[in-house]
Symmetry: C2
Subunit: 147 residues, 2 copies
DNA sequence: CAATATACGACAAATTTTGACGTATATTGA
DNA sequence: TCAATATACGTCAAAATTTGTCGTATATTG
């Protein structure tokens, strides 16, 4: 535990890919930019990241539902960045793809831990949780991917 | 994922307990301190934390092997704090009880990910990992438990 | 309307965590 | 010395979670 899931890793790979494409396109002359197709299909992404199609496809759907990517149906459809990665934090990514952003299960609303009332560490864990979340909110994906 | 394991939670509960005992004992007059028994058995801790004996017993053994607790065999034996919690970081706790402190499986030495050479996000994940670890190293258990 | 692509429900496989049992070792006190 | 108590630790079963697969519905393009 205390690890990122494969899904989040795949997301990072995909986002790095989109980001690289974005950077390339910025080096082009204005006219060429319109010709360049910026959307990439889930299948292409699966190939380039070596991730299983079904899984990364889900990941892309989630990123799309969160407004980080933009999806297009049909032939020549696919995904493209819809946000500047400077404006997306690691916390947002975790929130999108991990089961929850909380550091412990007992902190989630549907907590079934019958001890919660007599638990001695609710407050400590809540405070630590807050610190961790603020930490992840302070790191942008741009920071993470531009190294 | 991205959560603390039950083991780590149990450890926090136990350490809070030890810490509270420590605080109480400091309120006593010097003479009484010698009379007060500061070691607590795994069984007592299991009862007070409502954790399964076998599990918390293992946790205590680990904390003991890391020098955070001190163990005593035999009748009236048990565990007691052997370090000031100001000197123990959250990172140390995670290192002791989680499978690893790394943010991703691909970072561990016995990594079986066959992509590692062509993986596009090794560097980003390594850097993020470093940040997270430094963050956890900056928080002491004293900070966490005294809220 | 055929080809291509996203969207999503359901479920099987794999992995990891959690907890239980049995046994060995060490210490204390009668 | 021996019985009681407590830590130490190997092994393994149960439970939970993650990861990956299949099938099908919906949307867009030419």
């Amino acid at each position: 535990m205390n690890k990122l899931s494969k899904k989040t890793e795949y997301a990072l790979m995909a986002l790095k890919l989109f980001n690289d494409i974005d950077l390339e396109s910025k080096g082009l002359k204005p006219r060429s930019r319109n010709i360049l197709r910026l959307t990439v299909s889930a299948q292409d992404i699966a190939e380039q990241t070596h991730a299983p199609y079904d899984v990364i496809s889900r990941v892309l759907q989630v990123l799309s539902s969160r407004g980080i990517l933009k999806a297009e149906y049909g032939l020549f459809g696919g995904y493209q960045l819809s946000k500047n990665l400077n404006d997306v934090t690691v916390h947002e990514l975790i929130d999108a793809l991990e089961s929850s952003t909380d550091l412990a299960k007992c902190l989630s609303s549907e907590n079934d831990c019958e001890l919660s009332s007599k638990c001695t560490i609710v407050t400590p864990i809540t405070q630590l949780n807050l610190k961790v979340q603020n930490f992840y909110k302070s790191i942008t994906l741009h920071e993470v991917l531009h190294v």
